[in-house]
Amino acid sequence: MLNLHRLTVKVAILLLSGTVLLSGCKKKEEFNEIYELDAFNALPGSNGKIKVKTDEQWISVLYANLFQRAISTKLLNEMINSIYSVGDKEVAHEKIIAKFMVTPGLKIPSNAEMRQDIDGFLNDTYKRFFVRNISAAEKAWFKDYIEKTPEVTVEFIFTAFALSNEYQFY
């Protein structure tokens, strides 16, 4: 009898919580309508990345980002050992990225595709590497830089992303 009572209370709390949540969502939508705002998911700049990736994580994620498939265990182990065998990790990372850039199977947009739709390219690249949306400030800077710098290629941009500090964290 006592258990049944407890269950009833729990169900009531769940229903009440659900009602509050639904009304909350509705309230937000109304707020946007009133003030003519577009609803969007604003993620924090870092998307909560506070832990440094291990070499294994960095290589695996980078390989997946560039080749759109998982790295083989053999190559992964070789690369972990190789990074460990170099004192300056920045040097090791730069060498690995350069190696990937000339490895068959690389799946990156062409420079023409990038310059045709810089906005779309930047949106996709931030999601691809940082798993977050690009901020307005970032987009403004990058768009301006790419437009004014014809020497910049997709390869350069992807290399910069892979070397960036944010990409070293998760």
Binding site: I50, E90, K99, N165, F169
Partner: protein
Amino acid sequence: MTRAGIVAGGTILAPYILPSGRLFAASGEQKAKHVLFVMFGGGIRQQESVLQRYLMDAQPTADGANEGNIMYNLFEGAPPTRKIVYGNDGNLPGDTPIAKILSQTIERQGTTFKEVRTVSAGHYSAYTGMVQGKTTTTIGLREKPVFPTVFEYVRRHMGAAEGAASKVWFIGENIGNSTPLLNYGIQPNYGMKYGANFFAPPVTFGYQGIDSFAGGPIYHPDEEMKYIYKMKYFMDNYYRNVGGVLDSLGNTEMEKFQIKTFMEKLHRNTAGSDVIDCALEVMNEFTPTLTVMNFNGGVDICHGDFTKYLQAIHLNDNKVARLWQGVQKIPGMAGNTAMILCPDMGRNTKGSAVLDSNNFKSFDHDGGDPNVNRIFTQMVGPGIPVNVQVGSESNPVGNSADCVMTIADLLGIKQDVQNAGFINDTMSFLDQI
């Protein structure tokens, strides 16, 4: 003017102010321009090295004394004449000793401490003591040194030019035994930003390094790389707002370019995976202020094969000789480089039950055996007395951890290292002659 030129000009006009507050190199007397420190590892017994007893102590037989010097590039003394197994394979395994290549032994050219004590009976903690300059070291594998290493002292206290990142190198024989972790410690005022560049040639330049690193484009900082770095630094600035800052070893863009180009060169040359060849290539390319090497060349096989241990000791004697000969051919290092040679530890007095193909007993290195703590040390080069022997079996002088203060002494930063306050129980070998 190129960006590199502007940076170089800026360096001349406004030298980098080191955190120690020093603009230029230390004011202590610099005896040698360059130091090569060889951590001659693996566990070498005094009996088969400096004492030249060959098989007499370790594998006594009824037919008398099989003694002699199997390290005749390092020590004065005639080689064994009977039961030759320490050489390369000829008609019989090990019957062909390697020819002596130095016209004068290291003993004759420099100073030999014949009986020295070591820090630890374990390889990694022994190495840690040798790079930290402390006799008290309790550190496990996979842990960075707790105190500053000799690399950090040199980089921090030698001034911007001689203490640049590419002027301090650590060449490890491999990546096992946590060797790559020795290139800097974790003290906040020192640490990674003063760490040494490191290669483990069999991996960095072997098949693994080739699969991982070789063949990609190497962009110049003044050309392609300037666009990449600009975008990276923009993103790093943005990310810094949420705390994402990573320490680095402090190689400049030009130094990184030089290192990458050097790596590519060695990837095309299979000799790069040999630890001695690689060390010589590094010294030839970067003329480092400090180069530290660790190699045991298979000496630790003595846990199970005494014959191969003898062969490894003999081969290592040849390797050190090759190294010293090679240094004398490097412009900028010949004639102004000092070399310190120090084993990590000895091995047990008594052999184990494990026998090899010659029925020789094997030797481990246990903490309780005082023979493990017995080693020798040699120094050669400018600022080091010639043909001097210090200590004897009954009169030990020095400790393997003294190597740090010795390097500091040779490079003129001994006082700075002492002032740092981390080393209080070791002293320069030069002060013990």
